[in-house]
């Protein structure tokens, strides 16, 4: 247990206690490695099935490849552009929200996370609906004297829309990292006369590098597996091949999914290599530095937040509200119908968030503390699960449980549904979990080892409190991904189990816009409430520094 003010000094140990402690430690390390391996292997199940099915194809690989090359490059192009812009926006906003005296930052911390809670198909539909007379985009462009474009389609618009829906993947982990970062270096830089911007770029940014790259990787994989939004925006990617061939040319469909898998493995390896061991400064964990005073800079800073919120939140929400309001006005929409799906959504999302964080912690310990090769492979397996479209994961898990006698009872159970979510979204917890493990100072761990030789107790009393911001950020990302998940929910949930996302889809699909709008707004409310209750309220992100 940590004693405040206890000196971090190596004490001389008696031989016997040193021996038993190091045996305990080896035992603990082995358990971690084995657990990480099992977790990693479990996450690869859908991937193996995809490869196996793809290899059964009787189509020549060269022939298949030539069909896949153009959408492959389009996918890479979009994913690269969106990850770069999301990295810039997410990092910039994180700094504004955590390190400055930006007015209303507590509210912004919640609002600017919410675009992640909107399913992309309805988000994109609501976004482009804003480009009609009376819509936000149309009226704003008209107001500033720009003729609204006739069509919002193609790479440019897909880039903007996906950036607006994914930057929170960078914002959340970078905010968590900023909170856990030792401020003294910043202070020194400031004392040496560096301005806030120079301090940020030269001192803070290098320490955020791993969090930024980790978040951008999630954005990249999101774009790779995205289907609904890019389809609606008329931009053709690899997922279109997966979907359009899924019925009558299944080998090609699984082949295209296998290409997604290989692309993801490549990007994940690149990220792991790029990030290296990134020995982050971990000597302190709580920021007590007074926030940077923005002064007049608060105006452009606020405008930046407003601009991001307008694209990612205000535009889609105003379209959804228009749809919903028509139905509520004439009584077609009964909000009471949304209570059960809302409860189901909150229940599975919270369960998944907790499960995902718990499952990836051993993997994180293996990669960060044990620097284990097994850990790296397990981490790669966890991350790749995000690159496969949810439909592919759902079908793969259906095939596996249906054909394995002892797993058969799990088919279409809540347990399998949560498992599918965890496989799909575990990666979103992993980056934050790894960050938070790095945030526990090595010397603090050493001294705690001397005071208490029970590893589990040490984890609970020493590690967990320090890891809290990162764990909560990871849980938050998983939560927001799960609330809007659709394809796995449709196929794997117990029959008759509806969530808000399935409500949105089912109403939208056949043009019941009023109901779709109401359910989508309910989804944003549930996302907001859950993010607040389970994540923001419990982390320093909202509690804020007393000095702030």
């Amino acid at each position: 247990m940590r004693r405040p003010g206890a000196p971090y000094r190596r004490t001389v140990l008696t031989r016997s206690s040193a021996a038993s402690s190091s045996a305990d430690r080896r035992h603990f390390d082995t358990v971690v490695r084995v657990t990480a391996l099992v977790v990693g292997l479990t996450f690869t199940v859908p991937g193996w099935l995809v490869l196996w099915r793809a290899l059964r194809s009787d189509r020549a690989i060269a022939d298949l490849w030539s069909e896949l090359v153009p959408p492959f490059w389009r996918t890479v192009q979009l994913a690269t552009m969106v990850s770069v812009s999301a990295a810039v926006i997410g990092t910039g906003l994180a700094w504004l929200l955590v390190r400055t005296d930006l007015p209303g930052r507590r509210l912004w911390r919640l609002l600017l996370v919410l675009p992640l809670g909107l399913p992309s198909f309805v988000g994109a539909a609501a976004f482009i609906a804003g480009n009609a007379p009376g819509g936000v985009i149309y009226e704003v462009l008209d107001l500033i004297g720009v003729t609204p474009p006739r069509r919002l389609r193609g790479l440019g618009v897909s880039w903007i829309v996906l950036t607006a829906f994914t930057y929170p993947y960078v914002l959340l982990p970078v905010s968590a990292r900023l909170l856990a970062l030792r401020p003294s270096l910043d202070e020194s830089a400031r004392l040496l006369g560096r301005g806030p911007v120079a301090t940020f770029v030269e001192v803070t940014l290098p320490q955020l590098r791993a969090a930024i790259i980790g978040g951008s990787l999630l954005v990249y994989l999101y774009c790779v597996s995205e289907f609904g939004a890019v389809q609606l925006l008329g931009y053709d990617t690899l997922t279109r091949v997966v979907f359009s061939t899924r019925q009558f040319d299944r080998a090609t469909s699984f082949g295209a999914a296998a290409v997604l898998l290989v692309l993801a493995i490549g990007v994940v390896s690149l990220e792991r290599w790029q990030r290296g061991d990134a020995a982050v400064d971990t000597r302190s964990a709580r920021s007590t530095v007074p926030p940077t005073r923005l002064g007049w800079g608060a105006i452009p800073a606020t405008l930046a937040c407003v601009a991001v919120a307008v694209v990612g939140l205000v535009t889609p929400v105003s379209s959804l509200a228009t749809w919903a309001q028509r139905g509520i006005a004439d009584g077609r929409v009964d909000l009471g119908d949304l209570v059960e799906p809302a409860w189901n959504t909150a229940f599975v999302a919270a369960l998944t968030a907790v499960a995902a964080v718990a499952v990836v912690v051993p993997v994180g310990i293996a990669t960060t503390r044990l620097r284990s090769r097994i850990g790296d492979v397990a981490a790669g397996s966890v991350v790749v699960g995000f690159a496969l479209p949810g439909l592919v994961i759902a079908l793969a898990l259906a095939i596996v449980t249906l054909n394995t006698p002892f797993l058969n009872p799990l088919y279409q159970s809540t347990a399998l549904l949560v498992f599918a979510y965890v496989v799909h979204f575990g990666s979103q917890a992993l980056a934050s979990v790894e960050q938070s493990l790095r945030a526990v100072p090595e010397r603090l761990r050493e001294s705690s080892r001397l005071l208490d030789d029970r590893p589990v107790r040490r984890i609970v009393h020493v590690d967990l409190p320090l890891m809290r911001p990162g764990l909560l950020a990871g849980a938050g990302l998983v939560l927001l991904a799960t609330v809007k998940e659709l394809p796995a929910t449709l196929l794997l949930a117990p029959t008759g189990f509806g969530t808000l996302a399935t409500e949105v889809w089912s109403s939208y699909e056949d043009g019941f816009y009023a109901e779709a709008g109401a359910a989508a707004l309910a989804l944003i409310v549930v996302s907001g409430v859950l993010t607040w209750l389970l994540v923001l309220r419990r982390s320093a992100l909202v509690a804020d520094r007393p000095a702030g």
């Binding site: 482009i128 480009n131 009609a132 749809w323 718990a358 079908l395």
Partner: protein, 336 residues
């Protein structure tokens, strides 16, 4: 906390399993590609009338067909009835031997051309292919009588279609049967050369027409009725091609009983209910569709049309079926 949550997950799944496991023959499980808004009320009526409970899994027709395929391949069919929005998905299951034979008394409820040739699935409602147009942007006098006119220069850059969507592909498949592959290939490349825009589905096309993003689009007739019901100021209107034109084909929804179900009687009873008078009137009046059972009439707003050589298409006789259709669509330069 973690343990408790985990336990509650196990409890919930246990309860669900128990609910599914009740093998008293009183619950029919339906996999429905038709969405809840368009079918749940009539399924509730069925339960009220017969005392047979229904459990419904909603999803896309193609995805549910894949799921039934995997369940059946594993010898563990969960669904008793499949309701498909498009003939393509249910025909796929039929070709793979996953559907049971329907009783002759059920099949006789509709004309021959509105059911599967070997009697394993049956149409229960119909949507007609139409041209939806924006009445502020298109002069009704210039509206085409045939779908073939859309490759003419005056429609340059004005048309939206959904090359990857089931009902568009079903329509192209029907067109291949009547016009031949060469004519269809030529028409599709003509459309692409003419700058036709691709959308994911009917819904997106009607929305795009409403916004004026395209002037007109090839869709099922039903969607524009929904848009008008949502928003009276929506400027989209349906235009019918001539009745003998391939562009005016009727796309039927299909119902079938999954092979190996232990409730074939209840399943057939459900399908007969959908084709009975109250079922058919529901589709006519509540979902603006065409009833298919002999002697039933569409609702007032829906134009009465004569259905000629249309209905269930014999995919076996079209080399490659829907796969061939998709090849034609992609060869024409669309992203099918």
């Amino acid at each position: 906390m973690r343990t408790r949550l985990f336990l509650s997950a196990v409890t919930v799944s246990g309860v669900t399993l128990a609910a599914c496991g009740g093998d008293d023959g009183e619950t029919v499980t339906i996999y429905s590609g038709r969405t809840e808004n368009l079918i749940q009320p009539i399924l509730d009526d069925f339960s009220d009338e017969t005392g047979i409970d229904v459990e419904v899994r909603y999803g896309g027709s193609a995805d549910l067909a894949l799921l039934i395929e995997e369940e059946a391949a594993a010898g563990d069919a969960k669904a008793d009835v499949f309701l498909s929005q498009s003939p393509g998905s249910i025909e796929l299951l039929d070709q793979n031997g996953r559907l049971g034979e329907l009783p002759a008394s059920t099949l006789d409820l509709v004309p021959d051309n509105l059911r599967d040739t070997d009697g394993r699935w049956i149409g229960f409602s119909g949507r007609q292919r139409v041209l939806v147009y924006n009445q502020d942007l298109v002069d009704p006098a210039e509206l085409p009588t045939s779908v073939f006119e859309l490759t003419e220069p005056r429609w340059q850059g004005r048309i939206g279609l959904a090359p990857g969507n089931g009902s568009f592909q079903d329509f192209v498949t029907a067109m291949r049967a009547t016009e031949g592959d060469d004519a269809v290939a030529e028409w599709l490349s003509g459309l692409n050369d003419n700058g036709a825009e691709s959308y994911p589905n009917n819904n997106a096309i009607v929305a795009a027409v409403g916004r004026g993003e395209v002037d007109a689009g090839l869709v099922n007739h039903y969607y524009n009725f929904r848009f008008l019901a949502e928003d009276g100021s929506h400027p989209g209107r349906n235009h019918l091609f001539d009745t003998d034109d391939p562009g005016a084909v009727l796309i039927i929804t299909g119902a079938g009983v999954v092979e190996g179900t232990d409730k074939p009687d209840e399943a057939a009873q459900l399908i007969e209910f959908l084709l009975g008078s109250s079922g058919q009137q529901y589709f006519a009046e509540e979902t603006f569709e065409y009833p298919l059972a002999n002697g039933e009439q569409p609702a007032g707003d829906v134009p009465v049309v004569e259905f000629g050589e249309i209905g269930a298409i014999d995919y076996d006789q079209l080399g490659g079926g829907l796969e061939g259709t998709r090849t034609l669509i992609t060869d024409a330069g669309f992203e099918g």
